[in-house]
């Protein structure tokens, strides 16, 4: 038998990002791999199977792609493995039923590149994710990996590197949007050594997973970005701070560091150019405040992660009081591309004040949930309705939350707002690290504010009084409002405490903590009033202020709600009408979610007397 070492004709890519893994994609990967290996030499093709990082379209997972034809299968089940292997790997057939169904056109599309979800995206930070096997450094190298490192080491001076990053206008993707080049420049200027390079992979926003996906799906891009900075500022040691819960990110990052060392990209005399640099992983202990840069450094030093006052600047006195550059995961992932393609090119994408792209985790009440990367300046409407496909069950869009616990809720009047650092801040929210949570008419804005405040109350480190006490007081008021104990003057009191916090808190956690409350009061004051004055939660979320009933006119007697009710609180007769026993109802809202005729309604407590 002749043994040609041929390049595989087909490559089968199985998404093994967190979302798909939760949908059992590992079994699909193993199944396809086994079939392909067993068929071995008999087949005229040599497909390889790769476990890739997140494709972004988590909603339709698990996802299997077949190259070079770019066939995109979604919602794949373990039972589909044989058919995929027979028809699409051994042969060139397409299994129509597994293709992506574009909800806007009602058609099945062959390649993910043809979907509305992908067409409007522009991938820079996520360039390799879903395309490469994160465990393979060769995959990374094949897609221009470590070319930027080589370029800076052979053709650029440290100053030129800094100039290029500064010219590109890259702003930190971790939240505040500080110009990355300026930060590097300030650190390079300080004549104190050693210096450190730190990657912030703490990702504290409770509803987001962009950084995790990058660390899981393309760890080398982060390492290369840090190397380039180390060269520019003259650092020899780096740290990547990853939250301990991110098991896969930790594993993939550790493996990538090991590979990079083996290939001479890390360690001593890198690429024989005399540069020394190595990176260690530090596992975070799961505290939101540790995402704040000074708290994070305290945590790396092995102390309790409390922030310190801002006038001491980390670029001069950071980790162990030495000059330190700290950037976010996504910021790092952008750096090699900027070096390769130039500042000019980067500036041509995005908006004037915020060049480039931003990764968002688009989640909540939206049809296509998952990770997206879009040029800055795109409107919220485009993101939510074109890429996201709109609101499920064609309910009404109510608000979108950005910026996590430091951000706010943006209402539908502002849907045409361009998404960039400055306009989001103006709207009373902020860019944050990229959480984007879509809310519909069944989301209560007061309760959302309460949710974030509760999160922050638990996460406040307690070091400064305004934050520790202020958040607690605001939370107490919000809890009262949600429980039907709201009083006249509560709104004004919230505004008052909020303003104090913004002024007096020590770190960003406390200063931005009132944002979820202030922005919802700004745009949804009426909803607060309904809660306080009428004891009515229009969204039907706050239990004390919700009474579900079935509109007898609208009910068609299908009985679905009765089947879904976990308490058996709904009774009636098929093809006639159903009613809810209010004494049994726990207000979980499943009946309302199930009803296709909108017959389940909420009359709140205010009408109690009329019934």
């Amino acid at each position: 038998m002749l043994m040609f070492k041929r390049k595989p004709v087909k490559t089968v890519l199985v998404c093994c990002g967190t979302g798909c893994l939760a949908n059992n994609s590992r079994a699909i990967y193993e199944g396809l791999k086994k079939r392909i290996e067993e068929s071995g030499a008999r087949a005229s093709i040599r497909p390889v199977t790769k476990a890739t990082g997140c494709n972004g379209l988590c909603e339709r997972g698990p996802i299997v792609k077949i190259q070079p034809d770019d066939i995109f299968y979604c919602g794949v089940k373990a039972t589909d493995v044989d058919e995929i292997f027979e028809r699409s790997v051994l042969n060139d057939e397409i299994i129509t039923r597994l293709l992506y169904l574009d909800s806007s056109t009602g058609e099945r599309v062959k390649s993910h590149r043809d979907t509305e979800f992908y067409k409007r995206q522009h991938k820079i930070a996520l360039r390799n994710i879903g395309e490469i096997d994160p465990a393979s450094i060769d995959d990374y190298i094949e897609r221009d990996g470590y070319r930027a490192l080589e370029k800076v080491l052979t053709t650029m001076s440290p100053q030129e590197v800094i100039d290029e990053i500064e010219k590109s206008g890259l702003r930190g993707r971790g939240g505040a949007g500080f110009p990355t080049g300026v930060k590097w420049k300030q650190c390079a200027r300080v004549d104190v050594f050693p210096k450190y390079v730190v990657c912030n992979g703490d990702e504290g926003d409770p509803g987001a997973f962009m950084d995790r996906s990058i660390m899981e799906g393309d760890p080398h891009s982060v390492i290369e970005g840090m190397l380039i900075c180390a060269y520019a500022i003259g650092a020899e040691r780096g740290f990547i701070y990853i939250r301990d819960e991110y098991a896969l990110a930790l594993k993939n990052m550790a493996a990538a560091l090991e590979e990079a060392r083996k290939r001479g990209f890390l360690g001593r005399n890198i690429l024989q150019k005399g540069m020394n640099f190595d990176i260690e992983i530090v596992r975070g202990g799961g505290a939101f405040v540790c995402g704040e840069s000074t708290a994070l450094m305290a945590s790396i030093e092995g102390r309790v992660g409390e922030p310190r006052v801002k006038y001491i600047r980390s670029v001069e006195r950071g980790l162990w009081d030495k000059p330190t550059v700290l950037n976010n995961v996504e910021t790092w992932a952008n750096v090699p591309v900027i070096i390769n393609r130039g500042a000019q090119w980067f500036r041509s994408i995005g908006s004037e004040g915020s060049p480039g792209t931003k990764v968002f985790s688009l989640v909540g009440k939206v049809k296509n949930t998952g990770l997206i990367e879009v040029p800055m300046g795109i409107t919220l409407r485009e993101i939510i309705f074109s890429i996201g496909g709109g609101i499920p069950r064609d309910r009404e869009f109510k608000a979108v939350q950005t910026g996590g616990p430091s951000g706010g809720c943006i209402p539908k009047e502002l849907l045409d707002l361009p998404v960039d650092f400055d306009s989001l801040t103006e709207s009373g929210s902020m860019m944050g690290s990229g959480g984007m949570i879509v809310m519909d008419e069944t989301t209560c804005m007061v309760e959302v504010a309460r949710y974030y405040l509760q999160f922050l109350a638990e996460e406040s480190c307690g070091k400064c009084v305004p934050c520790r006490e202020g958040i607690k007081q605001m939370l107490g008021i919000l809890e009262d409002i949600c429980a039907g104990r709201g009083r006249e003057g509560d709104i004004e009191l919230l505004l008052d405490i909020g303003a104090t916090l913004q002024e007096a808190a020590l770190c960003g956690l406390g200063k931005t903590a009132p944002n979820p409350v202030l922005s919802t009061i700004r745009y949804f004051r009426e909803e607060y009033r309904e809660h306080i004055q009428n004891k009515y939660c229009p969204a039907g979320v706050c239990k004390e202020l919700t009474v579900f009933y079935i509109d007898q006119e609208a009910c068609r007697g299908c009985g679905l709600c009765a089947q879904k009710c976990p308490l058996g609180a709904i009774s009636g007769e098929r093809r006639r009408t159903y009613t809810i026993d209010e004494t049994k109802c726990i207000k979980c809202g499943q009946c309302r979610d199930t009803c296709r005729f909108g017959a389940v309604k909420n009359r709140g407590r205010r009408h109690d007397n009329n019934h």
Binding site: G17, T18, G19, L21, A22, N23, C58, E59, G61, G204, D205, P206, G207, A208, F209, R212, S213, D244, E245, V282, R283, G284, G285, G286, A287, S299, I300, E301, G302, R303, V304, G305, S361, V363, G364, K365, T369, G370, Q401, G404, G435, I437, M439, T443, V448, Y451, C461, K564, P566, I586, C588, G589, Q590
Partner: protein, 160 residues
């Protein structure tokens, strides 16, 4: 979950701690490893940490209470983590927590007296697309409804 028991001795803890140089910056990592192994931080193991790193016990307690990943009490055989990240929250995760509280008669952060179940809420698990999400040990459950919660618990009980 392969949790070590304190009865099997502290040799494991010694081994874990021994891997780390006696520098303060490895303190958190050592505590995390002990937590992983025993599912909590046994007093006896903390004493070893104290000795190894020469830090006062109060420091260890302040670390243990500050960092969420660390606990001073043992956890149950099944650790039920309900995601209360924003995406899960607005798709009703708090209803799941309430249902679990009702069925298990414990609050988040607690363990049933028979040591079988612990209930926890966590932040985003990266699976918002299938929100609300619940993880029991390493098994993910997506699009969980209040009705499904009871069924999942029954299945676990049946396995016993």
């Amino acid at each position: 979950m392969p949790a070590g028991s304190i009865e099997e001795g502290l040799s494991q803890a010694k081994e874990i701690i021994g891997k780390y140089p006696r520098e303060q910056r490895f303190l958190l990592a050592a505590l995390q490893d002990i937590q992983k192994h025993y599912n909590y931080l046994p007093r006896e193991a903390l004493a070893l940490v104290q000795e190894h790193f020469s830090v006062p016990m109060s420091r260890l307690y302040s670390m243990a209470t500050f960092y969420k990943a660390l606990t001073l009490k043992p956890k149950g055989k099944y650790v039920i983590k309900v995601c209360d990240g924003t995406a899960c929250h607005i798709r009703g995760s708090s209803l799941l927590v309430e249902e679990l509280q009702r069925l298990l008669r414990i609050a988040p952060g607690e363990t049933t007296t028979d040591g079988k179940f612990s209930l926890e809420t966590v932040n985003c698990l990266g699976s918002c697309a299938i929100a609300p999400v619940m993880v029991i040990n390493d098994q993910y459950y997506g699009r969980v409804t209040t009705a499904a919660v009871g069924k999942i618990l029954e299945d676990l009980e049946a396995k016993e």
